[in-house]
């Protein structure tokens, strides 16, 4: 699944301002042409075309059985002629057959429900999976642009909308088409003149449907979009609830919520109000045609131009066959909500993933850990260079420290090493190979990484530590936790390693979270190690205690360390001092101190008690 990206050339997470200034940064709604949308939908439904065919057969059979019923009851009634004149054997026979037909029809109806459920669940499940898989393929920068809650709304609401209308409407629309075409054939064969019925109904319905779909489609899109925006806001604000509360700004946030809520609710009401015009309108068209036909038919009869019998069957038929037409028109407008939702789903499925690995990309194996950056330039936004002309050589087993004032581009280097972003200019080599010729997964596996932003998921402590090493044993996990000096805390918890970490994680401190992520990294046996402010929230004593474990961890590995506590990086083989995206100084602690330059003053400042 997940066909070719829709335009663009996978520019990683970079984006131009104009691209972003659009619609409150919800993911952009490219107008997908109807044909393309149907084609994409068919890619999903078509996989289950057997089910579609089966559903059609079932529904046709059960309607035919349903139609035989009245015929049989007609025969039964014909056999009931009057007092003392009833053909009981025939009546009973008809009744038995009626029962058979009806029960069979009910059973088939149920099987049909089953098939349709299967179909719609399979399709929506596949869609959800595809959306999710593309989420995992998207460049990291993508998620800086769009609210998490908005994306979630697509996975939940939009797909559910598609699903609901698939299970409800798809079958009806197919059935209606079948009925309409069969009916048309029958009418033509009985009395060609009856086609006149359609002279008014069909064009009127057609024109109306075209008009209404054009009108409601944007409304349904707005409904999806506004609900997504509401969800985005809710997500963000619930995450920041502690701060909102601490500042006592609940009221103001609630006001903001109300704006979004009003938008969402109004969008819903508008789409609903206009969308439901269809039913009454199509009914109106039918009723007008009935009124006209019967009136003028009656006039014609009085003028002696038609027979009464013809007239009544004419009207009977026109009533019976206008039903399915109404239905089709109704469903087409109902489908608009599914199309609007599908549009958002496909936008996400088709969002440009990271540039795929080259087809002949190499697996990085037997890593020695020789990392070299040559003349690297990089910017997140064109024209705003973050890194310029960066050169760096980290030999296997060496420790490179990256220091500099905040915002100097330290974390960006990590982003480049891990290939979350590709360099604009220059090269990065690992063991002499340009990382762009390597598979991303093998490159990333070569590193262990502990980031400033601790990320723990809703699961047990054990699972969180063992995350990077599937199949890790309890012993290994405990050993890692001990090395990270978090074991004694864990063992004091009532459920120990089986404690489930909750969202707010109120009872676990930030420092403890960092220690858990360090334990996670300790379990990995990668040849290169990245520590980005890994211990910024850990107290100095604990940090010192885990230093020894860190050293064991770092032994023989090529390490990149970002830290503000300069004491932790004094032993680095190479200290890179960044300022404004450029390396301003490079060397060992001793040589840099001797230079009395930027590093030296930075180092001194940490002991500079303000007087």
């Amino acid at each position: 699944m997940g066909g070719p990206g829709m335009g663009g050339h996978g520019m990683g997470g970079r984006f131009s301002r104009s691209e972003r200034s659009g619609d409150r940064r919800q993911f952009e709604r490219k107008k997908v042409p109807m044909g393309k949308l149907l084609k994409r939908l068919w890619q999903y439904i078509g996989k289950y075309r057997i089910l579609v065919v089966l559903a059609l057969i079932l529904s046709t059979t059960s309607s035919v059985l349903g139609l035989i019923g009245p015929k049989l009851s007609g025969s039964a009634i014909n056999a009931i002629r009057g007092i003392g004149d009833v053909d009981f054997p025939l009546v009973v026979k008809c009744i038995i057959w009626m029962l058979v037909c009806y029960i069979l029809s009910s059973v088939l109806t149920y099987v049909l429900h089953f098939v349709m459920l299967k179909l719609s669940r399979s399709v929506s499940r596949q869609m959800r999976q595809d959306v999710f898989e593309n989420i995992t393929r998207l460049p990291v920068g993508y998620f800086d642009r769009f609210q998490t809650g908005d994306i979630i709304s697509t996975v939940t609401y939009d797909i559910d909308t598609v699903n609901q209308s698939l299970s409800n409407d798809l079958l009806q629309i197919l059935q209606s088409f079948v009925t309409v075409s069969v009916a048309l054939g029958m009418m033509l064969s009985i009395a060609p003149v009856l086609v006149l019925v359609f002279l008014f109904t069909i064009p009127a319905t057609f024109i109306f449907t075209k008009w209404i779909t054009k009108r409601v489609r944007p409304l349904f899109s707005a409904r999806s979009r506004k609900l997504g925006a509401l969800n985005g806001f809710v997500e963000e604000m619930l995450q920041g609830q502690k701060t909102v509360r601490a500042y006592g700004k609940e009221k103001q946030v609630l006001d903001r919520f109300d704006e979004k809520n009003t938008d969402a609710v109004n969008a819903y009401a508008k789409a609903e109000a206009d969308g439901t015009i269809t039913g009454p309108s199509v009914n109106l068209i039918n009723n007008i045609s009935i009124a006209l036909i019967s009136t003028f038919g009656a006039v014609l009869f009085l003028a002696g131009r038609v027979q009464l019998g013809d007239l009544s069957s004419f009207i009977q038929y026109s009533r019976r066959f206008s039903g399915p037409i109404t239905e089709v028109a109704n469903i087409i407008s109902e489908l608009q909500s599914a199309f609007a939702a599908a549009e958002r789903v496909f936008t996400l499925i088709d969002a440009d993933p990271e540039t795929p690995d080259a087809r002949d990309a190499l697996e990085l194996t037997d890593v020695r850990g020789d990392v070299q950056l040559v003349d690297v330039d990089f910017s997140y936004e064109p024209g705003k260079p973050i890194i310029q002309g960066l050169n760096l050589h980290a030999k296997p087993g060496s420790l490179t420290a990256i220091v500099g004032p905040t915002g100097a581009g330290k974390t960006t280097i990590i982003n480049l090493l891990m290939r979350f972003y590709d360099v604009d200019k220059g090269h990065i080599y690992v063991d002499g190979k340009d990382i762009r010729v390597l598979t991303r997964s093998s490159l990333r596996k070569a590193y262990s990484m502990v980031l400033q932003d601790t990320w723990l998921f809703h699961g047990t402590i054990f699972d969180n530590i063992a995350y990077g090493k599937p199949g890790a044993t309890m012993e290994e996990v405990v050993a890692a936790a001990k090395a990270a000096h978090i074991h004694s805390y864990i063992s004091r918890l009532p459920k120990g390693y089986d404690t489930v970490l909750s969202d707010n994680g109120t009872s676990i401190s930030k420092g403890q979270k960092q220690l858990l992520t360090i334990a996670r990294a300790m379990l990995l046996d990668a040849h290169m190690l990245i520590l980005d402010e890994a211990t910024s929230n850990v107290d100095t004593r604990t940090e010192q205690k885990i230093q020894s474990a860190m050293r064991t961890l770092m032994e023989g590995k090529t390490c990149f360390v970002i830290a503000h506590r300069l004491s932790t990086i004094r032993s680095a083989d190479n200290i890179l001092v960044l300022d404004g995206g450029k390396v301003v100084e490079q060397g060992t602690h001793e040589s840099l101190m001797a230079e009395e330059g930027f590093y030296c003053s930075l180092y001194r400042s940490q002991f500079d008690s303000v007087s």
Binding site: R25, I77, I80, R81, G82, V86, F88, V91, C94, I95, M98, S106, Y110, H113, S124, R125, T136, L138, V140, F143, D144, Q147, I151, Y157, D160, K242, A246, G248, K249, E250, V265, A273, T276, P280, N283, L284, N287, A291, L292, T295, A298, L302, L308, T406, K410, S441, M449, Q452, Y467, D503, T506, S507, S509, Q512, V538, D539, H564, S601, Q606, V610
Partner: protein, 573 residues
């Protein structure tokens, strides 16, 4: 729906009018065929062309009436149920804001999120559809039964005997499907969680090459969702065919009964024909009623999830103050405070301290020693288990929330940066002039703002991901200072700042916020060595209290931390 009744009540009048309009509209539409029959059967044989035109006009009128009234009722339904939903959402969000952190932990954010949007959406949809479709089917059903009774009471009895069975079937299916729909929403919470975790942790997932694992994990919840909704679907689909079968069996019994009654001369054969017509009408109407119940059970499951949250008891009410506070009371006082998050073990044990106006409290201690907990208690994000927290001599439990919060400017660890502009983030929903933001930014050493394109109006992306860790922290410090708080609370707020910036920040704070009482949690001795009072914590207990000199002399733990941090020592001035 019981829990949400109070939201529906104000709209009941409006909804009744909607239903009445719908009723008239349905009636108008049903009138057309009977007008037509009268015209063809009675008027045409008379040959009166005027009458024919009159009936034609009446039919057009009925058609127009049906059209206009239906649209009107549909719109009214859409708008009234949206108003209801709007109010439910408003209250639900307000309630979520008031939940204690503990309650939120139990509820979980993904669940709160899906209750707020997905569940309320289901309720909205149900309300709209019930109003729209809830009239026609019952009218036809009741009308059909009445006509049947009028036609022939014996055959009507067959139907009436069947009605309890049908009712039981529909009710049983509804009762069985309800928990499944609830379960479906619960699984949806898990889907939300996995997506959310993968977006926030995308770097880690990619770095550890766990993409396949996460896909499997999602695949599992995805399958669960698919399975449970299929199960719910299968159960609800039972009611249609079963009621259908029951009614049709009734129909055949009626035919047989009719045959005997005709045979014995009780009725005319034509009656059977009419009875069958009404049976078909009733069957179709029952199908409609069944659909209504299916809609209802899905909506009801969601309504329950919403009202559960709305009905949660509220922790932390504001208590009545007893007597006047002591005028000479210190600014902040902790009196024998103990607290535990889980009820197991103590996170803070018997803590007491006093802090005067304008003083600075520094809190130092190991990871998990209870530093942040003290701040949580001070700001009343949690209530103490034992002891009191007092501000200006008043127990904070007696201070109304707005008054209490106004006193504080705060930066938490890993605090929350929202999407928007820098100014928006510093202002943080408060009514502050631009100068105040500017002044706070300068003091917070956030000179990077000037360098940004647009300055204060520069864009901040989701989660502040276009700012470095240090930039975020300075932005947050600016936020905490902007309203000139009475009490400034900084929880490891400068950990990502280099030492020089940190030192400049401290100097600026001292110079510009002399009257602000500051509570400072930090790992750095240099950040708190000038504090008036320093608490050294270990496992929730104070193991040292006093100023820097005192602690250097008396507290072993403090001294050793200081020595390791100050390195060679001689560089300390």
């Amino acid at each position: 729906m019981k829990g949400l009744a109070k939201y529906i009540r104000p709209e009941v009048g409006y909804m009744i009018i909607t239903m009445i309009i719908k009723f008239v509209a349905t009636y108008a539409e049903l009138w057309i065929p009977s007008l037509m029959e009268t015209m063809l059967d009675e008027k045409v044989p008379l040959g009166d062309i005027k009458q024919i035109y009159l009936y034609g006009a009446l039919m057009l009128l009925a058609a127009g009436l049906g059209f206009g009234l239906n649209i009107c009722a549909n719109r009214m339904a859409a708008f009234s149920s949206s108003r209801i939903t709007k109010n439910i959402r408003h209250d639900l969000f307000a309630k979520l804001q008031r939940l204690s952190a503990r309650q939120m932990d139990e509820l979980t954010i993904p669940s709160a999120e899906s209750r707020l949007t997905s569940d309320t959406y289901n309720v909205n949809q149900m309300l709209t559809r019930l109003q729209r479709m809830g009239v026609r089917a019952p009218i036809l059903l009741i009308g059909g039964i009445i006509m049947l009774v009028q036609m022939d009471i014996m055959m009507a009895l067959v139907l009436i005997a069947l009605l309890p069975i049908i009712t039981i079937v529909i009710l049983t299916v509804t009762r069985k499907s309800l928990p499944l729909y609830t379960q479906q929403q619960t699984v949806l919470d898990r889907v939300v969680r996995v997506v959310q975790e993968n977006i926030t942790g995308i770097r880690v997932v990619k770095a550890l090459s766990k993409t396949d694992y996460e896909r499997d994990r999602f695949g599992k919840v995805n399958k669960d969702l698919s399975d449970v909704s299929q199960k719910a679907g299968l159960i609800t689909s039972v009611s249609g065919p079963v009621t259908m079968t029951v009614l049709r069996i009734g129909q055949t019994i009626a035919v047989l009964l009719g045959a005997y009654r005709v045979f014995s001369g009780d009725i005319q054969p034509g009656v059977i024909m009419a009875v069958l017509q009404y049976f078909i009408m009733i069957i179709n109407a029952t199908a409609g009623v069944t659909r209504i119940f299916v809609m209802w059970s899905r909506g009801e499951a969601s309504a329950k999830r919403v009202s559960t949250v709305l009905e949660l008891p509220e922790d932390m009410a504001v208590e009545e103050a007893e007597g006047e506070p002591d005028a000479n009371a210190p600014h902040i006082e902790f009196r024998n405070v103990s607290f535990s998050y889980t009820g197991v073990g103590k996170n803070i044990e018997n803590l007491s301290f006093r802090l005067e106006h304008g003083q600075t409290l520094g809190i130092l201690g190991g990871t998990g020693s209870g530093k942040t907990t003290i701040l949580n208690l001070l700001m009343r994000l949690y209530d103490t288990d034992e002891g009191q927290v007092l501000i200006d001599g008043r127990d904070i439990k007696t201070i109304p929330n707005e008054q209490l919060r106004e006193k504080f400017g705060v930066v938490f660890q890993n605090d929350f940066v929202t999407e928007g502009t820098i100014a928006h983030n510093i202002r943080f929903f408060r009514d502050l002039p631009d100068e105040a933001l500017q002044r706070a930014a300068v003091c917070a050493q956030a000179e990077f703002i000037q360098e940004k394109e647009g300055g204060m109006d520069a864009e901040v992306v989701v989660r502040g991901n276009n700012l470095s860790g240090g930039q975020k922290q300075r932005l947050l410090i600016a936020r905490s200072l902007a309203a000139d708080p009475e009490i400034l609370v900084l929880d490891d707020a400068s950990s990502a700042l280099d030492y020089r910036t940190d030192a400049n920040l401290r100097r600026a704070l001292r110079e510009n916020y002399r009257h602000t009482t500051t509570v400072l949690v930090t790992q750095r001795i240099s950040s708190l060595q000038h504090a008036d009072l320093i608490l050294v914590l270990h496992d929730g207990c104070v193991i040292g209290a006093g100023d820097h000199e005192h602690l250097m002399a008396e507290c072993e733990e403090y001294r050793s931390i200081a020595e390791t941090q100050m390195g060679d020592g001689k560089e300390v001035s």
